[in-house]
Amino acid sequence: MLRFLLTRVSLVIPTFFGVVFLAFLLIHLVPGDPVEVRVGERGIDPVRHAKLLHEMGLDRPLSVQFFDYAGQVLSGDLGISLVTHRPVLDEFLTLFPATFELALFAMIFAVVLGLPAGVLAAVRRGSVFDHLVMGASLTGYSMPIFWWGLLLILTFSVDLHWTPVSGRIALDYFFDPVTGLMTVDSLFSGQAGALRSALSHLILPTIVLGTIPLAVIARMTRSSMLEVLGEDYIRTARAKGLSTWRVIAIHALRNALIPVVTVIGLQVGTLMGGAILTETIFSWPGIGKWLVESINRRDYPALQGGVLLIATLVMSVNLLVDLLYGLLDPRIRHRR
């Protein structure tokens, strides 16, 4: 196991430095003078320009600059935002809980609906329910989620007034963030109705962000279940006289879940990409909206740091899934 762990981790390290290199290049490749890009000003006079160029080390060879940057990144220094003048890492950490909360709810939504739907569709293969689930999941998979979000707002917020249009909680409630998760903080604030307000703000964004993972999980669960249900040990379990549901829940599902867990892990990337669109539609103050705003405000240090952090996050989760997979399935661990 240790050998497996070390191999996998050592494979990720070069990729990580590749991503650092890409983030480093980003700020050199954006159009405009590098000093002006970093200071966020235009038309700096030549004397000050030369001074800044030297101060920032931009007159040194690129390779030296890269190793400097990599060193800074490893010590947790991701630069200063041009707009807020706060460290990018602080900005990211302040906004991240909002995205995390949304992504967590979306994932729960997708798993809670997707797993049973996939299992039932596989068990009742060819039935109306199966066709319905497959049709719905293909539609969900094809959905432009930015439009889906607008439709939901039109129906449930504008026409029916059931849910709020944007934000994380009604303006009537105010409390200092403790965990950064609005549902948890509102609960601890002790203010009546705060949790209810936070949850009602979460409903639509959760559905929008969870739609594609839901479709993927339902499809994956179904095909994985179908494969397992055809195995000999399932026939054996049935022949032993076990009840249908016992065979499905205990014998089939546990084995069918392995690829599904991998797919769930891989959805983290999808969630981070989807968060960019979902947060923009619902004015959700998280990482996705922040990144889009950073581009529009030409806040390149923020964009650079944000991209690096998200890529690192996605890579870490993928690595974790990989290791979990090896833990669950010895065949993977011992494969060369």
Partner: protein, 297 residues
Amino acid sequence: MAETSTQPNLQPISPAREVWLAMRANRGAMAGLVIIVILILAALFADFVAPHPFAEQYRDHFLEPPVWAEGGSWTFPLGTDDVGRCMLSRIIYGARLSLFIGSIVVTLSLAMGIAFGMLAGFFRGVTDIGLMRLMDIVLAMPSLLLSIVIVAILGPGLINAMIAVSITYVPHYARLTRAAVLSELGKEYVTASRVAGAGSLRLMLATILPNCLAPLIVQATLSFSTAILDAAALGFLGLGAQAPTPEWGTMLADALKFLQRAPWVVTFPGLAILITVLAFNLMGDGLRDALDPKLKR
């Protein structure tokens, strides 16, 4: 009567026909194909099919509702937008743009992916490690985020959005090609060709590539749909095609301000995206089942 039945048709069916027969049995795939053909026709003959020019502004018809709603008319079957342009015409011209985006993105990423995958699989060693690590880096980032970053570097616009989306798909093709090359490389027909004196380039392109095509075709069809989705998402974020181009995602972004007053300006472009993407996914699924019976669900 008896004679015809005792003389079976000994002609083997061609692979292309076999795929077609399998596809025809799949109702979803056929539905997808029909929609795609309609879209292609609409795109080709947009000048004749569209009731109005896509950029023409009719000053007396701002935000007119579609024909079935109160106040709608057959002059503008799907209504008009905020500057009085015909929605139906803009959506028809948008089909042209979306199919164009899909084809360019798929061609670009397929070409790059095949080249990388071929080189990595054929030469192994340092080339393989270097190229595949590069692909891992691209894969480490959510595709939408990566394309946003690339557009930030290149500047917003339709062409740059297409380049950005293409780059994010390269790793999928590169991995597929590499895997296929590795499994084909050890086979006898490749050795035979090598012994006969075929050079590397001939071996790669003429001998091995045709035998690796099946998974690439399936992936190409499926990424045609994601390309349309991603390009529309970039348009929606203001980073893709710029107004007044009738790109569906860009149209949605422009219509946001009228979400409450005129829901149809938001509904139809999105519906067009959904139907197009769905059609390509249906056909892609059908093609996969037809080309690779092992994967049949």
